[in-house]
């Protein structure tokens, strides 16, 4: 699968799960796996979430 931003090849592990974040090795963009059906993977822009932890 290719990066939606720069078209570089993304390395998505076979056992990757929905919610996991995939980073593009070329442009550095982060994508979240939105759906996964066998080897069929749908990506969405990962929201940038700052770390903000409770007690």
């Amino acid at each position: 699968m290719n990066c939606p931003e720069c078209d570089a090849t993304l390395n998505i592990p076979d056992d990757a799960a929905v919610g996991e974040i995939v980073s593009c090795p070329d442009c550095g963009a982060d994508f979240e796996i939105a759906k996964k059906d066998g080897s069929n993977v749908e990506l969405k822009q990962a929201e940038s979430v700052g770390e903000d932890w409770g007690e």
Binding site: I21, E32, A46, E51, D52, W53, G54, E55
Partner: protein, 260 residues
Amino acid sequence: MITIKIGGSVVDDLHPSTIADIKKIAESEGVILVHGGGKEVTKVCEQLGKEPKFVTSPSGIKSRYTDKETAEIFTMVMSGRINKTIVQMLQKNGINAIGLSGVDAKVIEADRKKKLLIVNEKGRKQAIDGGYTGKIREVNASFIKSLLDQGLTPVISPIAISEESEFLNVDGDRAAAYVAGKVGSDKVLFITNVDGLLMDDKVVPKLTLAEAKEIRPKIGPGMEKKILASTEALDMGVTTALIANGQKENPISSAISHDN
């Protein structure tokens, strides 16, 4: 006026002189207390058969994952046990304290985290549901000031109310920073069990805001959060942020006089 962050156990964490020290300062300039207590929450969760879940952030910070049931136990223990025990201890020593959670009079409002970024069991970054933690947005400063004006000492639990009126677990250090900043304390003090920030085995006596921001990423998790909270407080207009060991005599007045 000073805002002081203390841990969850007055008896275990603080030198016996601390309460008299608080009293003196409450009478002279006014004190707001913000407390923690994560350990006690974990204990009660276990007693109630609720296994606590912890998650690790991409930068390596391990923390509690707060699902709905945990948020309810968190609220019960923080505002019902820890908060009232601190208030009782203060009352016993002649300090007219009043315990509040962030839900009461909307003392602390926060935005619920929609998503959290964690490192999963395969060591890869993953976005999960944010659970019931939040980023503080607003503090009911005028209400807190009205309590101080009546001679009361507010004792605040690290629980916030979300826009949908949910209980949110917020970090105690950062809650103290926001309370100090929004109410207009000139000082914020983080009481801990070490003498302060150590660099090369020596206590760092003083940092400017710029230095603190630069140095922060290089510091270990517990102290890093206090430095972050300190920089946030200073950014909101607090003049001085102090970190001090609660096991020393008169920990508050000596921290104020930089006697460490």
